[in-house]
């Protein structure tokens, strides 16, 4: 299976993602944001970081970069596009995913492990993961997911909520909401479920000695379902 990770100026999780994808069997290529074409891929990943220094709004400048047209065309033709953290912000800024990631409610940069509950397994990203709750890492200042009430209703009706912040038992209520996100949303799909944006970093949880292995479950499932 072939994957491509797009590097923007200021991306800083691109190499971690490259390591993770290769560890689980992807043949990965790194693609520069100023390229026009993406190599033939089964999966495109927009990695975390601070593309263009988070100028204007997080992800807004990257959302207009040269490579993005190819990403949008790939996504619209049904290709799998995964945006992690800043990648999620970029996906909302391009309009591929609804809503926006605002500054965290309490104005703090949050860097810690969290639990997320998988809300929908009828998709390639979570299909065969046996667990209901995953322990993943978050590191962001703008992860406070927001959308209009109409959009929220449409997201809920279409099963587009992918993961929500919760405790280790899967309670995704207000006390377990780290950043103020509506409905504890940590990640969402587009309507067709081929695009996933999420704030938590699965690529940081692929080593039992350094962190944990719930990210491994994510990548093992992903390559297995392609």
């Amino acid at each position: 299976m072939k994957s491509s990770v797009i590097i923007f100026p200021g991306s800083n999780c691109d190499r971690d993602m490259d390591v993770a994808l290769k560890k689980f069997g992807f043949e990965n290529k790194m693609v520069w944001h100023n390229d026009a074409e993406i190599p033939k891929s089964d999966l495109i990943v927009l990695p975390g970081g601070f593309s263009y220094g988070d100028y204007l709004r997080c992800g807004s400048i990257a959302g207009k970069s040269r490579i993005i047209n190819s990403v949008v065309n790939f996504a619209n033709s049904g290709g799998l596009v995964l945006g992690i953290c800043n990648g999620f912000q970029i996906l909302t800024e391009t309009g591929l995913l609804p809503g926006i990631l605002q500054q965290n409610k309490y104005l703090n940069f949050i860097c810690k492990n969290v639990f997320v509950k998988i809300k929908n397994k009828e998709n390639k990203y979570f299909k065969n993961i046996k667990k209901e709750v995953l322990e993943l890492h978050i590191a962001h200042n703008e992860g406070n997911y927001f959308c209009s009430n109409d959009e929220l209703k449409s997201i809920e009706d279409n099963g587009q909520i992918a993961v929500t912040y919760c405790d280790d038992k899967g309670n995704d209520d207000e006390p377990n909401n780290p950043n103020g996100a509506i409905k504890n949303i940590a990640g969402i799909f587009n309507k067709d479920k081929n695009i996933l944006g999420m704030m938590p970093h699965p690529e940081r949880m692929i080593d039992p000695f350094l962190s944990g292995e719930d990210g491994s479950l994510f990548f093992e499932n992903l390559i297995g379902s392609l």
């Binding site: 204007l56 927001f146 103020g180």
Partner: protein, 77 residues
């Protein structure tokens, strides 16, 4: 010509920075400040002498990049 744009958060959208500024002002004895909303201001130099043309171009810029209409409104001054 120069076109000026103000981008503000829509009514009802949480503005934690504005809230922090308001609370700080209250702490500085400006007790009568009941709300602060923070926004962005742009000075855009457009090489265009027709004012209407320039403003309609800037309007496009606002919709496509300067403001995110999910949470923000823009005003061309």
């Amino acid at each position: 010509m120069k076109v000026k744009v103000i981008v503000t958060l829509k009514k009802g959208v949480l503005d934690p920075q504005g809230k922090a500024i308001q609370q700080t002002l209250n702490g500085m004895t400006f007790d009568n400040v009941s709300e602060v909303r923070q926004g962005k201001y742009f000075d855009i130099e457009v090489n265009e002498s027709d004012e209407n043309k320039a403003k309609s171009q800037v309007e496009e810029m606002c919709k496509k990049l300067l403001a995110n209409l999910v949470i923000e409104d823009y005003k061309i001054l």
